[in-house]
């Protein structure tokens, strides 16, 4: 009931929405609520947990020694403090970058093989990276987003990410800010959160990764950026490149204080 009232309030603030559209928004919210139960991402969390604990790769070790910033093997509450600076790599890394680092350095996997097709396609089995991401982000459910800005490289990552956010480029002259830098915008009927404001930034950072019902798959933050750039008519972002990490740092810092609610479920 509360959700319906909240949806009605949301509908009222959408400028110029016709009455037919108010009702559409309410119905979409109700559909979202129905989907919350039985989020198939749960299945992937279980799979990811198995992959974390299993001895794998040429070196036949588990990921128990992987340090996500809180100490070797500490997974609980780890997702919310990334991207962050890691001294052993002398780099600011988001979770997926750090995971690849651990799988390569600890387990002996080849980086090119892990990152060649980082996202599963339609009807394909989800990748190990997707499964492990689901598991690790679940361990931060309810925790407050706290992407650090202590180390100079973390600050540099934020500054570069902010620059990228506002950079207009490509044949359509789009920047991230074109869609996500203004209040109350929507494409067709899809609301566009304004990431300059804390609350929309929190909601976005807190709900990715998400199970995308229309794709039948869990999609991560790296995937979300990748699919945005495709529609912006930009070239393809390289998986776990510094640019993608910087953009995630920017959003993460803007989202400070939000409560993680991931894996979530989306359209």
């Amino acid at each position: 009931m509360r959700a319906a009232i909240a949806s009605a309030a949301l509908a009222a603030t959408v400028a110029g929405a016709a009455l037919a559209q108010d009702n559409t928004i309410i119905q979409i919210e109700r559909y979202r609520q129905m989907l919350q139960e039985g989020n198939p991402a749960e299945l992937l969390v279980v799979r990811g947990e198995g992959l974390w604990q299993e001895k794998r790769g040429p070196k036949n070790v588990s990921l128990a020694a992987c340090d996500l910033g809180l100490g070797a093997g500490v997974v609980k509450g780890a997702y919310i403090q990334m991207p962050r600076y890691f001294a052993d790599a002398d780099q600011v890394m988001d979770f997926e970058t750090r995971l690849v680092h651990c799988m390569v350095s600890l387990q002996g996997f080849k980086r090119e093989e892990l990152t060649k097709t980082p996202y599963s396609g339609a009807g394909q089995r989800q990748t190990d990276i997707e499964s492990l991401t689901a598991f690790v982000v679940e361990q931060s459910r309810g925790a407050k987003i706290a992407v650090p800005q202590e180390h100079p490289q973390e600050k540099a990552s934020f500054d570069r990410g902010r620059y990228l956010f506002y950079m207009r480029a490509g044949p359509y002259d789009f920047a991230c800010s074109t869609c996500h830098g203004v209040d109350n915008q929507r494409i067709r009927l899809q609301d566009l959160p304004n990431f300059e404001k804390p609350e929309p930034a929190q909601r976005a950072f807190a709900t990715w990764p998400a199970y995308r019902v229309s794709q039948g798959a869990l999609r991560t933050m790296q995937w979300r950026l990748w699919d945005c750039f495709r529609q912006m008519r930009w070239p393809e972002p390289i998986f776990a490149s510094q640019a993608t990490v910087d953009l995630t740092t920017y959003l993460g810092v803007r989202a400070a204080g939000g409560k993680m609610d991931s894996p979530s479920i989306k359209r």
């Binding site: 959408v14 600050k155 506002y166 207009r168 002259d173 067709r188 930009w234 972002p237 390289i238 640019a243």
Partner: protein, 202 residues
């Protein structure tokens, strides 16, 4: 001797802690960004080489000062190629289809793909289509409100071809100038907007 060495080392260590953070330069940032992308299909990294318009709009937060604005708008208007035969209007039914289609120029599109205008992503057009965005103003009754004179047609054509002609740093893509739509497709969109029989004007 040993004492002064420790002294020097301590000073160096303190200096390191107290070093002020210097943000990366624009050049350094652009380099990191470009290194983070790669060519895929028709979407090439050279798309990240910003034009003058893109640089100025980015620099001024899409709200350039008067003189810069005037310069950008003049340059944009100069890019507009009006129809050679003076025929402004095509088929509004085809225009509706172009307005509904969002494909084109992505790395998932082939070089032979015909792009759409994706107008409904940002604008209301016909009354029947309720799934429309609000990034741009409503275009419902566009022709009905403005008439179909030569001036309106010329303005509308230039707006679609290069919207920056009248609104520098607009969010709207340059459908003609960037080669998104052909002259023929823009004629169909013109009909959708200006033809009195178009659903937009009913």
């Amino acid at each position: 001797m040993k004492k002064s060495l420790i002294f020097v080392v301590t000073i160096a260590a303190l200096a390191g802690c107290e070093t002020l953070y210097t943000p990366p330069t624009e050049q350094e940032t652009q380099a990191v960004i470009k290194a983070g992308f790669r060519d895929r299909g028709i979407a090439k990294v050279e798309r990240l080489n910003q034009s003058e318009l893109q640089q100025q709009c980015t620099k001024h937060g899409n709200n350039p000062p008067k003189d810069v604005r005037a310069r950008l708008e003049k340059a944009a208007l100069a890019t507009v190629k009006y129809p050679a035969d003076g025929n402004w209007l095509g088929d509004f039914k085809l225009g509706e289809r172009i307005a509904q289609t969002g494909a084109g120029l992505q790395w998932t599109d082939s070089p032979q793909s015909v792009a759409g205008g994706n107008c409904y992503a940002c604008h209301q057009l016909s009354k029947a289509e309720i799934s429309y965005g609000n990034i741009g103003p409503t275009l419902y009754n566009y022709g009905k409100l403005r008439g179909s004179g030569e001036g309106v047609a010329r303005y509308t054509w230039a707006k679609i071809w290069n919207t920056n002609s009248f609104n520098a740093c607009s969010s709207m893509p340059r459908f003609g100038d960037a080669g998104v739509l052909t002259e023929e497709q823009i004629r169909h969109l013109m009909a959708l907007l200006l033809d009195p029989n178009s659903p937009v004007n009913k």
